[in-house]
Amino acid sequence: MTKQPENTAEGQGWLNALFRSRETSLVLLIAVLTAVTTTLNPRFLSPQSLKDLMLNVSIIALLVLGQTVIILMRQIDLSISSIVGITAFLSGTLFINHPGISGYVVIAIAVLTGLLLGAVNAALIAWGKIPALITTLGTLYIFRGANYAWVHGRQVNAVNVPGSFLAIGTSTVAGVPILTWIVLILLILFSIGLRQYRAGREYYAIGSNPNAAVLAGINVSRRIAIGFIISGAIAGLAGALWLARFGTVDATAAEGIELTVITSTVVGGVAITGGVGTVVGAVLGALLLSVFSSTLVFLRVPSFWQQAFQGAMLLVAIAADAYLAYRHALRSRVKWSHV
């Protein structure tokens, strides 16, 4: 073996480091996409379309935070879209039935409802030992079915919702919508929590190697349960904000967005096999997806193409993750042979 991997590694060191960081490549991709679309259609960077972009990505980005925690543990939560649907309609109904109710109370009730629905998932997964895929596929339909039965063809309209609450989805502070500020603050909290705190590191540990996590004394069931409760609570918050953003809510609200959220998270570098990824990357993934779909709209591609592109992006992202993991394994094997 006269191979000298160190040399090549040194030569491409900074390049490797740059490309190994998913965040950097995502930012680059977003920049390239924006540049190309702006040259083709300068209105792409107008203040109005930038604000629309931020608003469009905010709720997805919020849900991505919860999904990251879940996927880090090698689990999956498909039921979030149904929880968003229920809590969005619940928030609207609260405003209709209790005129003058404070927006904070409505948000608190929505979060609590989401948390309870998340707790149903948590109980079935952590103590019923049902795989997360089965559980949340089931509750995706159960929650949505319950929502349909409850809503029964009714609708909440923007006139039923106080203007101060709708302002969350329309007003800006320092040029950035309030909705986006909320997501940014939570992003910082989640980022610090997952990076600096013991509980956060435990999510990574469980996803990297569940058996080792048990041996390291981590209460895996409890951690998984808390993860699904967090995901539910975030979905509850997203439901209240969904009402603030759109004003109109019926039984179909947020149907199907779980695919966008999971795709964003995985495109953002959170490996579906667990243990790898950051919330910042995941939110950048949501931004990339959002910019991409705006690009399609600006380039007049029929909206029917969106779903196929989304599926293709998810496949490319998991293939890329697998390739990077393979390269990493290969490289560390070469290193070991020199020891």
């Binding site: 049902i130 089931g138 339909y141 159960i142 096999t273 196929a308």
Partner: protein, 340 residues
Amino acid sequence: MSEGQSSTRRLVRRVSWETILALLLVLALVGGAVLNKDFLTAENWANLLANFTEIALMALPLSLIVITNEIDLSVASILGLSSSLLGALWQYKLAMPLVLVTCLVAGALCGWLNGFLIVRFRLPSLAVTIGTLALFRGFAYIILGDKAIADFPSEYAEFGIGVVPNTFIPTPFVLFIVLALIFWILLHHTTIGRRIYAIGGNPTAARFSGINLNRLKLLLYVASGLISALAGIVYTFRFSSSRADNGTGFELSAIAAVFLGGVTVQGGKGTVTGVVLSLLLIGIINNMLTLADVASEILRIVTGSLLIVSVLLPNLIAKTRESWRLMRRQREIARLGSAS
């Protein structure tokens, strides 16, 4: 005394999941007949069987895939793609046999793509088929948009809604009966079947015993795509309607049927008989709810709950058996201790 007790326990331990399903099925049949006088009519049974033909077709290859410890969430999207393709090609005035073959080939290709990504790149099947669930449904929308195509030739539409002469069996259901027999023979009476169990039971041991895991899994995904496309054809002719959103959410019912049929999440276990029984059970439950004028959203809740219960129940049974065994062992230890 203790002899009798242990023999009941042995009986309980030996009762197979299929027996439990068969008992539930009898219960549902009796309940249905008592609760509703329309339940046992030939017309209702033609309806009942026709309504779950597509799901039953998709559940057959899916159960084999789940036995090998993989999953395919894209089946309903392949159904939609095949249905859209059927409508679009028919609109281009292609000969119907050619159209049908194209749909089946397209479905097989979809399945091959799933299998190829999973086997060749060793990607998790859950993630791959969530991706292709969006991708294939997206293709369906690209092909047909929000159009609906309905003017199919009458002989094909009749195939969709007709029954086998002098029986209540819908014509498309014959496809299911034939395929169920083929899958039963394949899984329980051929080496391929033994290999499928071996892969699910212990993949490493299966590889060392010389089984070509990759080829077999790829084959199963191709079969799943092909049969999902067939289900798409059946669906299109049954409703004389080709739309991009046909069969959305059917993967839930198919997966529920597989797990309720006794195929375990950990793989390596399950029988075709069990899956067929659970399909009948789900069909009867849905039919009874429809006869009782229960709204379709409640059907969603019931299907979702069935999926969860079908996994939760075996888990609980296994847990109970485990604690029984522990109790028995403890009692034995105590007896031995007192004897010495």
